[in-house]
């Protein structure tokens, strides 16, 4: 049965499995970006995906919420196969929050509206309720002073925290983070990682594509190293980052950790 048949996915509890990928492939012409990805993400698990640029990390995230449709393979969200019809995808995406490298805040709305527009338009929540919730979420990410500000008046770190609040407003079952600190000035990285760390501690299921090795080491339950469109190595952060088995992993970590 596909999720199309039901309006809401079941609440947590019935299965430990959040996302399952089977043989996911994606090519752009001759460029094979994903060459068969199989993995499972458990409920509450924090998975960090690392790897050189062009390894397919971001494409993997974008295939999970179908911003890019995969060419082959199946994906299950909470045990249900995700169908490929447009309407079914709109329903699935409600449950998958995404935060982008470039923030992608809506520049014509203030912080509260950025956060409340999703619940208001997609879930038909009344304005008062969705705005109230947006204020709560913005307070939670440390932006209670910036509720009415427009994105162009916010720093990169503040914008990214609004973006996290915007995704959380939909009450997602899993959150995807696509190199969310890569476009930030160094001194702004910590405020964003702190918010993500808190989310992880609260038990949010998270898939984090990142170059922040310290974050991966401290927060992740599992680290996936990707290269050339495949999962080369995965396991506990201490193992993958501290004692990599594969040659490619060693070379990559040698280059990254040397700086």
């Amino acid at each position: 049965m596909s999720v199309e048949a039901k309006n809401e996915l079941p609440a947590s509890g019935d299965s430990g499995q959040m996302i399952q990928l089977k043989g996911v492939k994606k090519s752009y012409g001759d460029l094979h970006v994903l060459q068969g990805i199989d993995t499972e993400i458990r409920r509450g698990e924090v998975v960090c995906v690392i790897g050189p640029s062009g390894s397919g990390k971001s494409t993997l995230l974008r295939c999970i919420n179908r911003l890019e449709p995969p060419d082959e393979g199946e994906m299950y969200l909470e045990g249900k196969l995700i169908a490929d019809s447009g309407q079914a995808l709109n329903l699935v995406r409600r449950h998958i929050g995404m935060v982008f490298q470039q923030f992608n805040l809506f520049p014509h709305m203030n912080a509260v509206d950025n956060v409340s527009i999703g619940p208001r338009q997609v879930l038909d929540r009344p304005r008062k309720e969705s705005d109230e919730r947006a204020r709560e979420l913005l307070k939670r990410v440390g932006l209670s002073e910036k509720l009415e500000e427009f994105p162009d008046r916010l720093s990169g770190g503040q914008q990214q925290r609004v973006a996290i609040a915007r995704a959380l407003a939909m009450d997602p079952h899993v959150m995807l983070f696509d190199e969310v600190t890569s476009a930030l000035d160094p001194e702004l990285v910590k405020e964003v990682l702190d918010v993500m760390r808190e989310l992880a501690e609260e038990g949010m299921t998270m898939i984090v594509v990142t170059h922040e090795m310290n974050f991966a080491r401290e927060v992740a339950d599992r680290v996936i190293f990707m290269d050339g469109g495949v999962i080369v190595e995965q396991g506990a952060p201490a193992d993958v980052l501290g004692n990599p088995q594969q040659e490619r992993t060693k070379r990559f970590l040698g280059l990254v950790l040397a700086t």
Partner: protein, 246 residues
């Protein structure tokens, strides 16, 4: 010199025909505003149809593109003649009901409405292209962020993409509106007594151009302030952009 001034600036002829010219200019303004608003709406609809996603919408996209190509490529004067001739004949043959084929809505004559149809059909196509440039100028990430929240393509267009696109295209749309206003003079060809037609009538009875000069001045009284206003809008947008890029 004397002759030139008398030909174009004969104040006694201007004074005699002031009422008629002003009356004609009211038609010009009504035609501009009604057809302008309809063109804005029709252009937006066309551009949104042109951007519909998915394979199923391919025929609609092709129709929208075909429409825009055709009506940007035909002189508006021809469209005016085709519409007034066609609708007149259709009414005579009972192909179309008279209220539609010979419209007299709101007490305005049928050639006024033929002009409105022709301008909307033509300028809708121009404005669709302006909107499209605005929609395409909105970064891809805006659509992706909207879709990732679970919005449909339509919701994303309505709440996120189009509001940003419209802000970007207000100056070029106003430029199109200035062009539209000047092109309303073409409706004189089917006998609407707008400002140019009034001037021509005065000319053919007096062989003096002063009533036409008055019409030109009336146009400038509207178009020059609008052009200045557009310049200010553009300057404002540019300084805002420069602030965004430190």
């Amino acid at each position: 010199m004397e002759t030139i001034i008398q030909q174009y600036f004969d104040f006694s002829i201007m004074g005699d025909n002031l009422d008629a010219v002003l009356h004609g200019f009211v038609y010009t303004l009504e035609l501009s505003l009604i057809a302008g608003v309809l063109s804005l709406i029709w252009g937006l609809i066309l551009s949104v149809l042109r951007q519909l996603p998915g394979r199923g919408a391919a025929p609609i996209r092709a129709l929208a593109i075909g429409y825009i190509d055709v009506f940007r490529g035909i002189p508006m004067l021809l469209i005016i003649l085709l519409i007034s001739g066609g609708l007149g004949a259709f009414a005579a043959e009972d192909v179309l009901p008279r209220w539609l084929a010979i419209p007299q809505w709101f007490g305005l004559p049928d050639n006024f409405w033929y002009g409105v149809f022709a301008i909307t059909i033509t300028y809708g196509a121009y404005m669709a292209e302006v909107y499209r440039s605005g929609i395409e100028a909105v970064p891809r990430g805006q659509m992706e962020a909207s879709r990732s929240l679970g919005m449909s393509h339509g919701q994303a267009m309505r709440y996120v993409i189009v509001p940003q696109a419209v802000r970007k295209v207000i100056p070029p749309l106003l430029n199109d509106f200035i062009a539209l206003m000047k092109d309303t003079s073409l409706v004189s060809v089917i006998g609407l007594l707008e400002v140019v037609q009034v001037g021509r009538d005065v000319y053919s009875s007096t062989f003096n151009s002063s009533a036409l000069t008055m019409g030109a001045v009336l146009f400038l009284l509207v178009t020059i302030p609008m052009a200045r206003f557009v310049d200010r809008l553009i300057a404002g947008q540019q300084s805002k952009m420069q602030r965004a890029i430190p």
